[in-house]
Amino acid sequence: MTQIPGLAEEHTSTPLSSSQSITLRIAKYNPVHDTEKKFMEFNIPYEKWTTVLEAILEVKKHFDHSVAVRFSCRQATCGSCGMIINGKPRLACFTKISELNSNIITVEPMNNFPIIRDLAVKFERLFDTHHKVKPYIIRDDTEITSDTKEFLQSPEELEQYIQFSNCIKCGLCNSACPTMATDSSFVGPQALAQAYRYVADSRDKGKDTRLKIIDESHGIWRCHFAGSCSQVCPKGVDPAMGIQLLRGYMLGFKS
């Protein structure tokens, strides 16, 4: 096999071997020619530390290389490997098979996202809504370009938003959200949590602009506080709380 210069070769071609094994059911679907999802089953050996992503990669390497899955960091940092694992949105690289307590592991693409193929979904809507809420510090340009200007922040001010800055844009919250399932224009928990992250930042001057953006007919008010977004977030962001805190600003309880 020719090796592309500069690319490190992967040394994981030995199949996993263990006395324990699970049945991995992978949803296969290509919107171009399939009418419905089909499940393919594979018997995969696993160790205590084997993640669902590793099991899927095992399938790709030794049984069916056509399985479409998105991943990169393998350490819950890039937000690429979100999928529905045994009915719940999770990061495949952050979910150990042993913690699922089941002999059958079913993996499906995330809900509320258009499917590209198999487990890979389109992120355009998430990125659009994320971008829409202006996810950056808004200041007067002249202040920012000055070399000498510092924007100091106390630990208390930092605490107001630091939890919300952990978002890795994995989309699990949007996948779990019941409003996202029915309202195709809803801005979604991910973007709303990010709106709060910047509104609550003492260095930011874009609060009014941002609150105006989310104060529309498919904005913040369409959240029913189901709380499923916070339950599935792998980074402890708690979008549901961010949304309620944002509402506090809009109802005049916070300034």
């Binding site: 409003t179 029915t182 309202d183 195709s184 224009s185 809803f186 104060d215 529309e216 007919s217 498919h218 904005g219 008010w221 369409r222 809009m250 109802l251």
Partner: protein, 112 residues
């Protein structure tokens, strides 16, 4: 109208309605509950102006709250600019219609 203003009206009307409906239910308890619902008693309530006024306010508050809620449900059901406009105006017109019809009933019973 800004969505936050609509929702403030929605929440405010619910809170106010809860207060007034509580008064309305307590008034039932000043007599025996079944007795308070007898025809003659109901008509007497309508003739008592402050009570009729309270019923009118409850009617307005619940209509506002209910139709805003209905609009929210319908907006989630389907999306699109024209659809949203049709829903918003239809809910507003239906709300005015219900309030007018209810007010007419209260006035007619009060006067007649």
């Amino acid at each position: 109208m800004r969505e936050s203003i609509i929702m403030k009206i929605h929440y405010g009307s619910a809170l106010a309605a809860v207060g007034l409906v509580a008064v309305h239910i307590l008034m039932r308890l000043t007599q025996g509950y079944a007795e308070s619902l007898e025809y003659a008693n109901v008509i007497r309530n309508y003739h008592f102006l402050p009570y009729a006024g309270m019923l009118e306010i409850i009617l307005i508050l619940l209509s506002i709250h209910g139709f805003i809620g209905l609009r929210v449900i319908l907006l989630e059901l389907k999306q699109g600019r024209i659809y949203e406009k049709v829903i918003s105006y239809s809910c507003f017109i239906a709300m005015i219609g219900l309030i007018t019809y209810g007010t007419r009933t209260i006035i007619m019973v009060n006067m007649g």
